[in-house]
């Protein structure tokens, strides 16, 4: 159940971002409350990844405000505070090739919190178990894992520091439907267990229906529709209708 009584943990206000002459974000307004799972959908190249990278300070918007836990994120100290309470699952996993699986999972504990390697490994194995990976995977390298296993390791890394906000960038891209569903289940389970807010971006409508409490459609650099996942099929929005039904014809132009 969505807890609307909470104030938003993350707010984006009128965020603009351009790359050269190409204006990608034209005033994005978003908010997500603790315990809420928001999924941003939209065509390829509409700026979904740019939106969450701007929220995480990986890209700097030209205009607009980002607030975390009610405070404006305007300097390095506040950005660091945001990142300490945030997890991120990248599209390709972004696991560090040179480290073992457990070192990847426990990276924040080892290099940020400076806890002992023995304790970090113990907690990494506990978190691997949460994403249904055996302890025997701990000493493998990321290159020795399948795509689905890499996503699980990336999920374990995103949740190990018990964040209040987790970003998921296309968590099921490149996975078969069964593995994708397993990853979706893990995301829902772990986000609920942590009581964290989640912001996901995906094209995968099965994933949307599984992990979203609310859905927002990003089109031409703005959020043009937002509503509960249950309203997707009767949104009254031609954009949502086209996207949900996967039609080339409609107000959203294909990216080819």
């Amino acid at each position: 159940m969505i807890d609307f009584a909470h104030k938003p943990i993350l707010e984006l206000r009128n965020v603009h971002k351009a790359f050269g002459a190409k204006q990608v974000l034209r005033g994005v307004d978003l908010s997500v409350a603790p315990g809420q799972s928001l999924v941003i959908i939209g065509g390829s190249g509409t700026g979904k990844s740019v939106t969450i990278k701007s929220a995480l300070g990986l890209m700097t918007p030209e205009r607009g405000e980002i607030l975390f836990d009610g405070k404006l994120v305007s300097d390095a100290r506040q950005l660091e505070a945001l990142r300490r309470r945030t997890g991120m699952l990248f599209q390709g996993g972004a696991l560090f090739d040179s480290l073992t699986v457990w070192e990847n999972v426990a990276f924040a504990l080892l290099y940020r919190d400076h806890i002992s390697r023995a304790e970090a490994k113990k907690r990494a194995i506990e978190n691997l178990a949460k994403v249904r990976l055996p302890a025997s995977a701990a000493d493998l390298r990321p290159a020795e894992l399948s795509g689905g296993m890499q996503k699980r390791v990336a999920l374990a890394r995103a949740i190990i520091a018990q964040p209040d906000l987790i970003f998921f960038d296309e968590p099921t891209t490149g996975l078969d439907p069964i593995t994708a569903d397993a990853v979706n289940n893990l995301i829902v389970e772990q986000v609920k267990a942590l009581g964290a807010a989640a912001v996901s971006i995906t094209h995968d409508m099965a994933s949307v229906r599984k992990i979203a409490d609310e859905v927002a459609l990003l089109h031409e650099g703005r959020i043009i529709w937002r509503g509960p996942v249950s309203a997707l099929d009767a949104s009254g929005s031609p954009h949502i209708d086209q996207f949900v039904n996967g039609r080339a014809e409609g107000p959203i132009q294909p990216a080819i």
Binding site: K53, G57, L58, L95, F96, D97, S98, F107, Y111, H114
Partner: protein, 280 residues
């Protein structure tokens, strides 16, 4: 009267003529500005990395890992380079020296050339190819696969976790490699001198030992430390700036090698000039 002839009559060039005349100057201006921008970017990047090298926290495990990669695994290539250069140097000095009846100076000039110049420069250039390209490719791949973004989200600064350990490893290990190269280079000269040029072995070694001074060795080692820093910095800088997939990573590796090689040769001259002036 046309618009064009009106402007010409009034003394100012038409837009077409204006473009034709000014185009080369614009090109020069753009190139110069791009050069200054690049220098500014390298300086900013380097200052951030150097600051991370001299302030805590320093990740010792990463430094050791990089020392192994940069130093230990470069030993074969540096050793081979040194032995062949020492041998060729002995032959050349013997040929040149025989024109002045100065063949007996082979051991002196071999050890001077190896310790002061060829050891550090050639080891630096070999490592520019092996290490700088490797660092650029590794960091470039991390950049395009979002691993560097992942580092940032995990509150780890790339300059502290990735770049500083590589630069520290370069500064620490290249002098050690050059020390090995000095010994192997002298040995290469010795082998050729004894086997092909009919030098007495013990006399050759005694001449070498009596001639070489600590300042010869120190000047080469100081150069090596500077070159080690340059090699790692250029690899990190180009890797950090890479974009556009596999092609971008390849371009970063190429630029790192070229940049490191040019900077090694330029800084070698500057350091040599300084050493000559201060009498080192």
């Amino acid at each position: 009267m046309t618009a064009s002839s009106q402007t010409t009559a009034s003394g100012s060039a038409s837009p077409a003529e204006d473009n034709f005349i000014l185009r080369p100057f614009r090109l020069i201006g753009r190139t110069v500005l791009a050069g200054f921008r690049e220098i500014g970017r390298i300086a900013t990047f380097s200052s951030r990395v150097v600051l991370a090298c001299v302030t805590p926290a320093i990740y010792l495990r990463e430094v050791l890992r990089q020392c192994l990669k940069v130093g230990y695994f470069s030993l074969p290539v540096v050793g081979l380079t040194a032995v062949f250069i020492g041998a060729a140097l002995a032959l050349n000095i013997y040929t040149g020296g025989s024109r002045f009846n100065a063949e007996q100076f082979v051991p002196n000039i071999v050890v001077l050339g190896i310790t002061r110049e060829l050891g550090p420069v050639l080891a630096g250039l070999m490592l520019a190819g092996r290490v700088s390209a490797g660092i650029a490719a590794e960091i470039g791949a991390m950049r395009v696969t979002e691993q560097i973004d992942a580092l940032l989200t995990l509150s780890a600064k790339p300059e502290r976790y990735l770049y500083a350990p590589r630069v520290i490893a370069g500064i620490l290990t290249l002098p050690l490699l050059v020390l090995v190269a000095d010994i192997i280079g002298v040995l290469g000269g010795y082998l050729v001198a004894v086997s092909a040029l009919e030098f007495n072995g013990s006399l050759y070694l005694r001449n070498t030992w009596n001639f070489v001074t600590s300042s010869d060795i120190w000047s080469g080692l100081i150069k090596a430390a500077v070159f080690g820093g340059i090699i790692a910095l250029m690899g990190c800088y180009q890797g950090d700036r890479s974009k556009g997939g596999a092609g971008g990573v390849g371009r970063a590796a190429t630029l790192a090698v070229v940049g490191a090689a040019v900077l090694i040769l330029a800084s070698n001259y500057i350091l040599t000039a300084i050493f000559v002036r201060i009498g080192l």
